[in-house]
């Protein structure tokens, strides 16, 4: 006891970063366990594993006629899978499930007060829970994206191997992994805030989905008010735009990365302010 008190009091001279880090680590340990092992995690595993199984099944099935001629299209096909499945569905819905539940789920289960009854600043609780959600989503989807990307090139044998060893394969894989991490970061922060401020975060989440889905139809200045525009700008392979799309120049990579990081920080900041006013009144929920 005395040791703990001394340690904490030493840190009070400035900000107690050591204490905050220990508290964040404790929150992450509790939350990650729930995120990975909870019953709710089942449908998130489904979202994560579906493309891996589908692409893997095709990869390990007997080869098809004309396959070699399709090698050049594999990159475009994977870009389509990544942008339409991973970004708009898999990562999006998994982040809805994981991040909205971090606070709203605990309110519904009437267990949030246990956190509120500890000497943890509420802003620290937001950061800890957010990082636990990000670690969960990022771990699951980087594994999924990595496996599905590798499986995409398995049918092409040595040609596929050369694509990684001598071609752009590794670079593209790293780029997709980076976009995945940023997608979890950006969508995660937005859905965490929704779980904090809305009793039913599904409706606003669907509104975000709608906005992100019609992004290709929006004029350039409105495209920039979305997460998907910046994520697509960072993708290594550009997909052809549809006939109705309104074209806009992709964002430079540094703006896209800084923009997403800035959005995340701003949203987490708002969540930190919002939780300070939060009351425990389970009956009202």
């Amino acid at each position: 006891m005395a040791m703990a008190d001394n340690r904490v009091s030493r840190e009070i001279a400035g900000f107690p970063w050591g204490l905050w880090l220990r508290q964040i680590a404790a929150i992450i340990r509790l939350e990650v366990r729930k995120n990975f092992l909870g019953r709710r995690a089942l449908w998130i595993y489904l979202l994560v594993l579906a493309p891996v199984f589908l692409i893997g099944a095709k990869a390990f099935m007997p080869s098809h006629e004309g396959e070699w001629s399709q090698f050049g299209k594999a990159g475009i096909v994977y870009a389509g899978i990544f942008q339409f499945y991973y970004l708009r569905m898999g990562i999006f819905f998994a982040c809805v499930g994981i991040f909205t539940y971090l606070f709203r789920g605990e309110v519904l289960e009437k267990s949030l007060h246990f956190y509120f009854l500890t000497p943890v600043r509420r802003e620290i609780l937001v950061v800890g829970k957010y990082l636990s959600g990000w670690l969960t989503a990022a771990t699951l989807f980087t594994i999924s994206v990595g496996l599905s990307f590798v499986f995409m090139y398995v049918p092409y044998g040595s040609m596929g191997g050369d694509y990684f060893a001598k071609g752009p394969g590794i670079g593209q894989l790293l780029a997709y992994t980076g976009v995945t991490l940023l997608a979890c970061l950006g969508y995660g922060s937005v859905f965490l805030l929704m779980g904090l401020i809305f009793r039913n975060p599904v409706i606003p989440a669907m509104s975000v989905l709608g906005w992100e889905s019609i992004n290709f139809l929006l004029p350039p200045f409105l495209k920039k008010v979305s997460v998907i525009y910046y994520l697509q700008s960072l993708c290594p392979v550009t997909l052809p735009s549809g006939p109705f799309a309104i074209l806009a120049d992709p964002s430079p990579a540094w703006i896209a990365v800084l923009g997403l990081l800035g959005l995340t920080l701003a949203v987490i900041g708002v969540a930190g302010l919002s939780i300070r006013r939060m009351e425990i009144s389970y009956g009202a929920d």
Binding site: L19, A25, K34, F116
Partner: protein, 313 residues
């Protein structure tokens, strides 16, 4: 350092519904009971003290700490709530260990603290079972362990005896006494008034969001001049004593006991009555077996001030 819990003109409204209204209190160390019917504002007061609710008006300081500073407040405060739900998938030991880690303690310190708290509430044998498999009484005990595991200076207990069997209740009351004797400031709410009466140094009586009375129960009773004091006496020749009661200016009523070995006196001047009784006993050689006020306990005060509108026992 401020050692009291101070409510400074505190009101809490849930929309248009009143929680508590214009509460001004300064609660000194010791065991303080919050007493009142359902909906009187007991839980609201406790939730306000711990920052789970924010006052609509006024401010609350616990040992000088504002309730909007959980990082400082919960180093000194433990709260056993009425909520009967827990984080999923944890054993009793894991819950306490995790909470102590949130207090900033190391893994080793947390393990030690969890073990000690589990021993105090008698849950050592069930420590490694999942809380979901606990009985109501065990869940109540683990909530108590959660409230005391970090050795707080202020312990707030909302109906802590609910769900406990008589033996466990008595053990818990002994634990509360032991903690209070060690200098812990205890605020307790309970429907079971005779248990409140056993352990409380003072009471706060609440009704419909208002503080009706507060203080040492004897002092509160003394202030209730409109209700004559009831005194029960077991003695020989009670009719002799009864006859003299009516000589008192403020004697109100006398009832002889059925077995003719005692009487119940209602008087507005108990001091005068006791003087007179001493004289009667000496003059008439009465044998007095027992003399006791019969309405200066929490239950009687509650009945007088609030009435029997709830399931108070």
């Amino acid at each position: 350092m401020e050692s009291n819990i101070v409510f400074d003109n505190v009101s809490k409204f849930y929309g248009e519904v009143l929680g508590v209204n214009r509460v001004n209190l300064s609660i000194a160390p010791g065991i303080t009971s919050l007493v009142g019917p359902n909906g009187s504002g007991k839980t609201t007061m406790m939730n306000l003290m711990t920052g789970l609710l924010r006052p609509s008006q006024g401010r609350i300081l616990v040992l000088g700490i504002h309730t909007e500073r959980p990082d400082k407040l919960f180093k000194k405060v433990g709260y056993c709530t009425q909520y009967d739900s827990f984080p999923k998938g944890l054993t009793g030991r894991q819950l306490l260990h995790s909470l102590l880690c949130l207090h900033g303690r190391t893994q080793g310190e947390s393990a030690q603290g969890a073990k000690k708290a589990l021993e105090k509430v008698g849950l050592t044998d069930a420590a490694d079972r999942r809380i979901a498999a606990y009985s109501k009484g065990m869940r109540q005990r683990i909530k108590l362990a959660q409230a005391i595991c970090h050795e707080p200076q202020v312990l707030i207990l909302d109906e802590p005896l609910n769900g406990l069997d008589p033996l466990a209740r008595s053990e818990m009351l002994a634990l509360f006494r032991e903690l209070a004797a060690g200098g812990v400031h205890i605020i307790i709410s309970s429907h079971i008034l005779y248990e409140v009466d056993l352990i409380s140094d003072r009471v706060i009586l609440l009704n419909r969001g208002f503080v009706v009375a507060e203080g040492n129960i004897q002092e509160v009773r003394d202030e209730m001049k409109e209700h004559p004091r009831q005194i029960f006496i077991r003695c020989t020749k009670p009719n002799v004593l009864a006859a003299r009661v009516f000589e008192l200016e403020q004697g109100v009523e006398v009832k002889l006991h059925e077995d003719r070995r005692g009487l119940l006196v209602r008087t507005r001047t108990p001091d005068q009555f006791f003087l007179m009784m001493n004289q009667v006993v000496l003059d008439n050689d009465l044998e007095v077996e027992f003399v006791a006020p019969s309405d200066d306990d929490v239950h009687s005060v509650y009945e007088y001030l609030i009435g029997s509108e709830s399931e108070i026992l």
